[in-house]
Symmetry: C2
Subunit: 241 residues, 2 copies
């Protein structure tokens, strides 16, 4: 089956967690944002979101179309692909653990977005800079070390799976966390370097994911969008203390 | 099996989504926060969170203990219970759809918390009142109608399942959404009344859930904590325009 991924063009955003799973899993897929002409791009995404005949409409992208089924919500898509692409264990406990780690990583993602948009995306960054500074201060001091300390602990307790969190094979939780570390390194190079210095297992996980042959090929292909300040990870030097 | 639910005492919080599922499903469970003595309350919760021997440690509560397995992350716990307690369809597409709706509802929950704590919980409400006013303005004007319009549309398109979203039986997605409507009605009575006037199916879903015999019994038992301003839903009249 050829999957279709619907996500906004020009940014990695939440779509990137899905792309990494599709790439690592060797899936055949069409990235609708990159399809030229009337069948791709924003018009195709809006048509899918607004289709009146859809009994199970998604709230937002990313959406994965599998046959005629639309699957939305990043962790839900990953849950689905995990089973299909061998990116999660087959037993129920292993599946739940992989999902739990991924949900926790995506909670961190929401907090990272909130550093530059604490008042939500109804206001531009320039309209909420003072609030962003205060939120980021707490994030870098309290929240980021708490999350990173947690994931480092998970890796430490499962050292037989090194460098992965869940099992002897890479899982979608590993891919998701590696993407977060990559994004944090773009957004907060100073604070992230400081944080990773004390968490060698996290740094090793990131490097191991991006050294995977399929992921490395994808990153070199030009299809992985570069980080940029229209995206959910943003680099504002004034926030990176 | 008797489940154990670990969640902070005194508030509903995220634990309440799990409690509603356990109650509606007729599960046997112990609410650790309410257990007197050394085996309950905050000390028992901290012991569980900090146990060094746990190979799959949770990041935070709520945590459901099922046998010897700890399951964390609200949507993950609901995914697990959905299958066990008959609160989700048995087929894969139905399971994914239930999970997708629940994840979307819980995204709304995060945005509701952000109305009074846009800078995160590192600062008291009193330290972020101006930011809270701005965030809430956008929330009530843009985000709340968007989410409510979405769920109303889901209900409309699945009218054969009335009053439920997923199937002819109540699902954990329905319980979750009903709890959100209850909390919104506490936090923003004026704005929520205005919003629900145009969304009769949402209001009917809420009423149908809280009229379920087991849920009604639970609400009348005194075990359901009353809403209060230490909780994630908070009522600040100055925010409810």
């Amino acid at each position: 089956m050829t999957y279709e991924l619907y996500y906004w063009p020009g940014i990695q955003g939440r779509g990137e967690f899905v792309r990494l799973a599709l790439e690592e899993g060797g899936a055949s897929y069409r990235d609708i944002a990159a399809v030229p002409g009337a069948h791709g791009g924003v018009p195709a995404i809006l048509r899918m979101l607004e289709a009146r005949g859809e009994r199970r409409p998604p709230f937002a992208v990313p959406v994965l179309k599998a046959g005629r089924t639309l699957i939305a919500q990043t962790p839900n898509i990953l849950l689905y692909l995990g089973g299909r692409l061998g990116l999660a264990p087959g037993d129920e406990r292993g599946k739940l653990w992989t999902h739990q780690l991924t949900l926790t990583a995506l909670d961190l993602y929401v907090e990272i977005f909130a550093t530059h948009h604490p008042l939500g995306d109804g206001y531009a960054y320039e309209e909420q800079k003072a609030a962003a500074r205060r939120r980021t201060r707490d994030f870098l001091k309290v929240r980021l070390p708490k999350f990173c300390g947690y994931f480092e602990r998970v890796l430490e307790r499962n050292r037989s799976h090194r460098p992965w969190m869940v099992a002897a094979r890479v899982s979608y939780a590993d891919l998701t966390l590696a993407q977060l570390i990559a994004g944090l390194t773009y957004a907060f190079p100073r604070a992230t370097a400081r944080t990773l210095r004390k968490r060698p297992r996290l740094a090793a996980l990131h490097d191991a994911v991006f050294a995977r042959p399929r992921i490395a090929r994808y990153a070199a292909s030009g299809r992985r969008r570069p980080f940029n300040n229209e995206d959910l990870f943003r680099h504002y030097p004034e926030l990176d203390r």
